[in-house]
Symmetry: C2
Subunit: 460 residues, 2 copies
């Protein structure tokens, strides 16, 4: 075995099963790679080497006895630091605020631990999960592995960077208005936000529980599906929990091409002001989808206006986050950077009636998406109107406008690489599917992924 | 046939089928009774005699050709005046505000019209559906048919009074925090709020769409079930619409008794400060349920605090209603009584973060109810901590505290008479069931209804 950190989850699970590598080898290889590369990238805020080696040892002992628990047993991963891990203070990307150490793993982490996965550490994020650059004031900025000085996106920027840089085979992120898919897009990996209710938010610091989704970032669509299969389970302790239809599984069928698949592009997205590289890349992706046999039609989604909808969603998030951070904000104001304080103050001072109006627009936008999907198998669009940008440039307000409606609708959405820009940065495509139709969505994404043949790792 | 207005829906449908009465006879009998009695009760704000007679004539023509559409074909009813009926201005219980006439029936009305039901008119309500006395400043107070000068409850007070007084065999109301069940309780009829999502809110003036439920008030549990069967249908135009499990039906099985039925009483309800008549009546009802074979256990619902939960729900309603009334409130301030203006102003001035906190509490309360129902078939409680009261008395703040959590949880709930007070006013009981388990809930209610043998109509 050359470098075990080259393996995808699917490859690593085969290697573990056939004894070509041990979980401890794999874990040590990742810990060494983090040690070697992450000073420059800064994707980890905390490496949990002791827990990782203990979990890897336990996995190896099970494997040695022929009792491997499943596909993720012995596979390392890392989590965004807004999710609880037992015994650690969850930073939420902020300076210390007197938060006690978590007494239990977040439900998603608990399920992975139960499946035997090996927790490498906690990942950098945009402060409070309330932005999309991961230019973190307390932990330091996280760099895009494809270009230092460029943002990895956010708020799960550390998750995107760690997966892209080969510092974890997969990572967990959270996605409130695009926070898994935007870093996946900027970093050139796969980001999956499942249907709302499938993955528990328990033990995750809320941005806005009604829009928050826990999900994987991984190197391939298939790996993301394997992780989601373990994450999914109704959680009676979480009010948002939903039971999928019987026989639900995220594992995609292996389609030969996209014959018979109907895809829709929202007219308002086609007309949207986006960076020319993104527009050209999207046109090329649509052309490729057509050559693969899909029909791609322009669809008008009544009442869908990306900018107003994003603003409405943002107000909801600001208000819910202001509520969630209330115990800390007044006592530890300095822990919050000015731009985050401004957002939370806005949530505290905007009126309840304005929030009600915003929630109404969020719901109508989501309903428009659900309706549009009656006529097509999936909607297709860029993840964001721009690729990764320099930390020196102003932050574009439009980052989340294509991503957020899937959160508003609770629909599954996957971001995956669609090519490489002339300057070497990744381009990305997003598919949004029907509620609980993860398998179909990912089957479509896999056909596209196969023809793109994106080089999964930057030259590090 | 003596007086056709004595007939329940089930009896009237048999009489229509066997030609003992025509829809036109039935409609004229109701119109005459409204003419004779409603000046004193004031349950109708508008009688639609022309539409009613046209719809009755059409039903009779179908019946004559052997083409009766179903159980409700030719059956009169009336609707609360916050629901659109084509060609009429929906008043929402308020003075004219320049609202245009509705261009279509509300979806619930449309479904009843399609089933052949005969719309008698629009019913009085608490102003804006934002209170529970129906002491309406613009249309005049609606009186409780059991005692003039006493409230029929609200906000669907006209619906409760009309059904109790025999001015309609059934009526539609809306229930945001108890607005169907409270008037049903105060007026001695049956009020049914189904699982959220089963009945469309389209064409209904929102108080708070996420908590609003359209449903029937009727004389018997069975009649309410027959109406709900027609009302239920997924509405792709309404974001809240939900598809029930296959083979869902509200029609209850005819249980011989309650053997094997597990009922729960929330400890916090048992300990709640309620009027002694209600407490005694509730104890008697629980005793009766036990004699019928049910087990009745006290349950602690974690995090359920009726008063805080009601206040949280109220803030949400105030904010959502402030948004809904925004087009009118500034231009027609005088159309809004002072106590309603105060509520809407509160919704406009409270902060978005406070609303987010309130929504969080509403959701947790609802989740507590859902959890509690894992251990029992239904929760049982009084509908309100007090029976109908005089318009001269101050309005008790606690009216909705036992009713609102079913809205927060989206669970089906039915109110039905449980006896008569010494002074002749009705007493009432409420069952709350599992999501989509309307048939089981109503089966339990029917067994109880049978032994109560409540005299359905006041002496008018």
């Amino acid at each position: 075995m050359s470098d075990p950190t080259d393996l995808t989850v699917a490859q690593a699970t085969a290697a573990l099963t056939f004894g070509q590598v041990t979980a401890t080898d794999l874990t040590r290889a990742y810990l060494a790679r983090i040690e070697r590369l992450d000073k420059a990238i800064n994707s980890y805020v905390r490496v949990l080497a002791e827990r990782a080696l203990a979990e890897a040892g336990a996995a190896d002992a099970r494997i040695a006895k022929g009792q491997r628990r499943g596909v993720l047993d012995g596979i390392p991963y890392a989590v965004k630091d807004n999710m609880d891990t037992q015994g650690d203070v969850t930073s939420d990307g902020l300076a210390p605020r007197g938060k006690p150490a978590a007494t239990a793993d977040a439900e998603a982490v608990r399920r992975l631990a139960e499946a035997g996965a090996v927790l490498l550490g906690k990942l950098n994020l945009h402060e409070g999960a309330l932005g999309a650059t991961t230019d973190n004031a307390h932990f330091g900025r996280c760099h895009n592995p494809w270009r230092a000085g460029f943002t990895p996106g956010g708020s799960s920027g550390g998750s995107g960077a760690a997966v892209a840089a080969g510092l974890a085979p997969f990572a967990l992120g959270t996605d409130t208005m695009g926070s898994i898919r935007i870093p996946a897009a900027y970093c050139g990996c796969v980001g999956l936000k499942a249907s709302y209710g499938l993955v528990s938010n328990l033990g995750v610091t809320p941005a806005c529980d009604a829009l928050d989704h826990v999900g994987p970032l991984a190197r391939t669509v298939n790996d993301a599906a394997l992780v989601l299969r373990v994450l999914q389970a109704p959680d009676p302790e979480w009010p948002g929990s939903a039971e999928p239809p019987a026989n639900w599984s995220p594992l995609p069928a292996d389609l030969p091409d996209l014959s018979g698949i109907r895809l829709g592009v929202a007219g308002v997205v086609e007309r949207f002001q986006m960076e020319s590289s993104v527009r050209l890349g999207f046109s090329a992706a649509v052309g490729m989808l057509r050559r693969l046999g899909a029909s791609v039609a322009t669809i008008e989604i009544p009442g869908y206006e990306p900018t107003s909808a994003r603003r409405a969603g943002l107000l909801w998030v600001e208000a819910a986050a202001a509520h969630a951070h209330e115990p800390f904000l007044d006592r530890y104001p300095d822990a919050y950077p000015a731009h985050i304080r401004a957002m939370l103050d806005y949530g505290r001072t905007a009126s309840a009636a304005r929030l009600a109006r915003a929630q109404d627009m969020v719901q109508r936008t989501g309903a428009g998406y659900v309706r549009a999907l009656e006529a097509v198998d999936a909607l297709v669009m860029p993840v964001a109107p721009q690729p990764a940008f320099s930390f020196d440039e102003p932050v574009p307000a439009t980052q989340a406008e294509f991503a957020a409606p899937a959160n508003f609708a609770g629909l599954p959405a996957v971001a995956l690489p669609s090519g490489v820009l002339a300057d070497g940065l990744p381009l990305s495509l997003q598919f949004v599917g029907r509620k609980f139709a993860e398998a179909r969505l990912l089957a479509i994404a896999r056909v596209f992924e196969r023809v793109v043949a994106f080089d999964r790792r930057p030259p590090l």
